[in-house]
Symmetry: C2
Subunit: 436 residues, 2 copies
């Protein structure tokens, strides 16, 4: 089936290892897990959008209901933000605010399949939601989480690029560019389309060539880290209220990110970051690998004024980010940045003769009791074949008690990584394995 990611077992081990790390770091910062059903009511999912996303939604209907000629009233989630909005609105009075939640689940889009773009793909999201007001201090917590996640994932140096939609709106007001949101969307396409195409698109929505040029000059300042970011903010100044507010907020956020302990080279101000989604209103984030800018942003998000206006009268401002994990995994695999495939199996306990089965089962049980993931060979075979099985399946250790070993009260422990082997006392098998 095209357009979906299906992994072989050792790839799946690597993928789940990434999920485990992401979840661990999310929870390290106090984000609580939630999971929402894959299916939502159609009226909930399609309330917001219009346009391209709506055409890509997967409708769901049971065969029984289809036979009766009913219209589908269910659809698969296409992101984790709409389900979060519905969840918070539905359970508002049972939740505590500020509500920090993480959610790691697949989402579904009926896109034309492309390389690395899937119809089912995992998103790993965190958001903090509060009622009525959400302090700007949360905008600075988000980069601290991103920093911990990507430091732990260990794919090389990365940098978190911050910007402010309010600051950008202020800049556009200064440059007399209207309407803001359409122009922001064009700016977001800058790295994919190049400056000339963006200037052409901007001119179509009424932006003068001169204003477009000046906007792109500012965007071209690129990433500014450390004190350079604050110097740039000073230069931008505050010609109008929006701009002044945006600059002040950005200054406060960057100051706080430093206090959260994020290393200075890992974050900065980048005026070209706009994010395409309409609902962002303040701080926006993108994250890139320093050695692999061609991968684009591997973790993005922003601040929004009101999460769930469609579903509740409560005003629920929030800030959050999303990691598109399936795509990232595909990119890392293609760029050869994933470590060598390792199994969850740590030891293969071999079997050379039927008479050895009870002893082999006891050895395996002792290893498992000691917390060692252990696979048992249950049908005797040549040792060469068993070692081949271990090697092919990324299992590092092979333990066996053949007839000779059993007579001597020993076991043989072979390390496939170091290509060494040694005998050990039968009673010390756990220690011998743990010493490898």
């Amino acid at each position: 089936m095209s357009g979906v990611m299906e992994l072989l077992p050792l790839e799946q081990v690597a993928f789940e290892g990434m999920i485990d790390v992401i979840r661990r770091e999310f929870e390290r910062f106090g984000y609580l897990p939630i999971a929402t059903p894959a299916m939502e009511l159609t009226e909930v999912l399609l309330r917001k959008t219009g346009g391209e996303t709506e055409r890509q939604v997967y409708l769901v209907q049971s065969t029984g209901s289809a036979e009766q000629g009913d219209d589908p009233d269910l659809a698969l989630r296409f992101d984790l933000t709409v389900p979060l909005a519905r969840y918070v609105a539905e359970h508002e009075h049972q939740l505590s605010f500020p509500f920090r939640r993480h959610q790691i689940q697949p989402v579904y889009r009926g896109e034309r399949p492309q390389r690395g773009r899937y119809r089912e793909f995992y998103q790993c999201d965190i958001d903090v939601i509060d009622r009525n007001e959400l302090s700007l201090r949360f905008d600075a917590e988000i980069p601290a989480v991103i920093n911990s996640v990507f430091a732990a994932l260990d794919f090389g140096e990365f940098v978190i690029r911050l910007n402010s939609r309010r600051l950008l709106a202020g800049l556009m007001e200064k440059l007399e560019i209207e309407p803001h949101v359409a122009a922001l969307r064009e700016l977001d396409r800058l790295d994919r389309q190049g400056p000339e195409n963006v200037i052409a698109s901007l001119s179509k929505i009424g932006v003068t060539n001169d204003a477009a040029q000046r906007l792109l000059e500012l965007a071209a300042t690129g990433l500014r880290t450390g004190s350079d970011a604050f110097t740039l903010l000073d230069e931008i100044g505050g010609d109008n209220d929006l701009l002044k507010q945006g600059v002040d907020e950005m200054r406060a956020v960057l100051t706080l990110v430093r206090e959260w302990g994020v290393p200075e080279h890992r974050f900065g101000l980048d005026l070209s970051i706009a994010r395409g989604l309409d609902y962002y209103t303040g701080t926006v984030y993108e994250t890139t690998l320093v050695a692999h800018p061609e991968l684009g942003s591997i973790c993005s998000g922003g601040r929004y004024d009101d999460l769930a206006g469609q579903y509740t009268k409560s005003r629920l401002p929030g800030v959050g980010i999303s990691i598109g994990l399936s795509r990232l995994f595909w990119q890392l695999q293609n760029a050869d940045l994933l470590p060598a495939a390792k199994s969850t199996v740590e030891v293969l306990v071999g079997l050379l003769d039927d008479a050895g089965l009870p002893e082999a089962l006891r050895i395996a049980a002792e290893l498992r009791d000691a917390g060692v993931n252990t696979e048992s060979v249950l049908v005797p075979d040549r040792i060469g074949n068993q070692l081949k099985f271990a090697a092919k399946n990324g299992i590092d250790l092979y333990v066996v008690a053949g007839e000779n070993e059993r007579q001597r009260g020993e076991v043989l422990v072979r390390n496939l990584r170091t290509q060494t082997q040694a005998s050990a006392d039968r009673k010390d098998v756990v220690a011998a394995v743990q010493a490898q």
Copy 2:
């Protein structure tokens, strides 16, 4: 939305805790993770069945495709066995056999919602698949895994009931009951329907009253553990080849389960276990909680001759079990068998004044670096409100450095579980928390 399970955050923590334990124990025995897409091609999913399941399948179609008037060519998986069959057939030449896999994913059925029956529910499956032949020894590994899983889940004593479809078929041949499979399905309904209804149903498929009575008498022997199981097998004897083979196999499996180290009171022979599914051919399993037989089987499965005959010419025998986790979670919750809700958050670092923010952020960062899941209060509030937040959200520890503590170079550590608090040197905050 009715008929789906959606949990509050602390319930989700408990649910994911169960998944973590199940996955850990599956991997302890060398079962490798796989995940298949929620959507399969309709022609793949509907190739096998017919009847009730087919009416309950969820068809999937993108809005774009629906507008064009196309028929849906995708559907949501309704179990993990059909996707496993397709997966093994598709990747056969990249897999190593015997192939032990686990799969923990939601499945979808368009059932009429009932209490504890969901339209989306998690299944946790393991299977071992081999090519051409699969040794009976694997039938004995399965109860060893079940034993480890439910011992680790710690919901009280449980017992694994084994039986053999081959033995049952032999018994039916002896009792001149035909056709076997239909009669097996009736026998499987015994505990829900009662003996009289089953005798009536059996008579409809041509089973004489006398034969039905004798079959139910055998089923009524109930669970036999330890040497009682072997005595019963001796009594059954071997009047025909099928019966003799079934009895011999059952004897071998029960002997091996003991050698795998499963305690004698945790498994036995129960002639009433039949399992409803057509494809089981040998050993079948059910698992019940000793103190809660009303929950029914919480883990069931069996041996089958050929997993993927629809998708490949290779003969792929296997044996496996499934835990219906969403239903089990609902049952345990209703029977009050779940432990009290605990958060993934271990420490809440409080904030009493704006000037204390940098110090509060440093304390939280030190705790996180030490591996402690720590949530930060970012906006100052009365200490009473912060303690209420911690208590409501299942957070056991509260750490704060107010103005007085900061002047004295101290922190306050409050344990909400023991209702005690103590001051500690600021530099010892990690140790003070870890000592709780």
